[in-house]
């Protein structure tokens, strides 16, 4: 295959996957934990209820993906917003480091927090 001049496709794949995750899964989570429970529409789950849920390995894997992929979606989109919105494309190495570095850091934190929940 012809060699590509850039590894941009890798970041675009992460951006797309993260965008799909964010589009489908985040609204309901935010509605429940950010609006419904604080406003008392529903009773917030008790500590034991939530812990029993989060102890399940599948749930922890899901939460890891929910925290990691959308961060890479943010990284890619925010990087281009800075390039175009603030016309700072000349700072592209710094912006790249901040965006993807931040996403990687969040991923590592998520892995650390979810590895051993108890």
């Amino acid at each position: 295959m012809t060699k590509h001049a850039t590894n941009e496709p890798f970041f675009w794949i992460l951006f797309s996957a993260g965008g799909m995750m964010a589009a489908i899964f985040i609204p309901i989570h935010l509605l429940l934990f950010g609006v419904a429970f604080p406003l008392g529409w529903f009773k917030a789950p008790s500590y034991d209820q939530l812990m029993s849920l989060v102890s399940m390995p599948l749930v922890r894997i899901y939460l890891f993906i929910l925290c990691s992929l959308p961060l890479f979606h943010w990284a890619h989109r925010f990087r281009y917003t800075l390039y175009d919105g603030l016309k700072v494309k000349h700072l592209n190495e710094l912006i790249f480091a901040i965006c993807y570095g931040g996403a990687t850091l969040g991923t590592i934190i998520a892995a650390y927090l979810l590895w051993n929940i108890r």
Binding site: G18, G19, M20, A22, A23, I24, F25, I26, P27, I28, H29, L30, L31, L32, F33, G34, V35, F37, P38, L39, F42, A44, P45, Y47, L50, M51, L53, V54, L63, L66, C67, P70, L71, H73, W74, R77, F78, Y80, T81, D84, G85, L86, K87, G102, G106, I109, A110, L113, L114, I117, R118
Partner: protein, 145 residues
Amino acid sequence: MSATRQQTIRPAPAYTEFHPRWYRPRVSVYWWLGEWHYLKFILRELSSVFVAWFVVETLLLIKALRGGPEAYAHFLQIMQNPAMIALNIISLFFIVFHTITWFNLAPSATPVRMGGKRLPDVMISAPAYVAWAVVSAFICWMVLR
């Protein structure tokens, strides 16, 4: 008659004989405020910041769960702060805006052909909305039961 040329400093001409000076307009850094469509685009892109904010909140929730029942109760209390609720409502608007624009734009990136013709866009975005509803209902059930 002496053929002396007057030596005056003249400003550079606006054109050379066979090449006019083109005017090159500069694009202002506020280009996105000039038009509603551009502003809508930038707001859509800024929804990613609220996506990142949600991830931060979720990581804080998980950290609180690890900290024990008191940490979890403290987290719930912080979430009830009116400023937090306001921020989360705004985030919710932006994230739903992201979802709707994402689903509506996806069909033009992934055209599906069947029987020699391209399927109408709604046949690709509708299943995405259905999946969104089903997933949301499932998560509600998992968390609220």
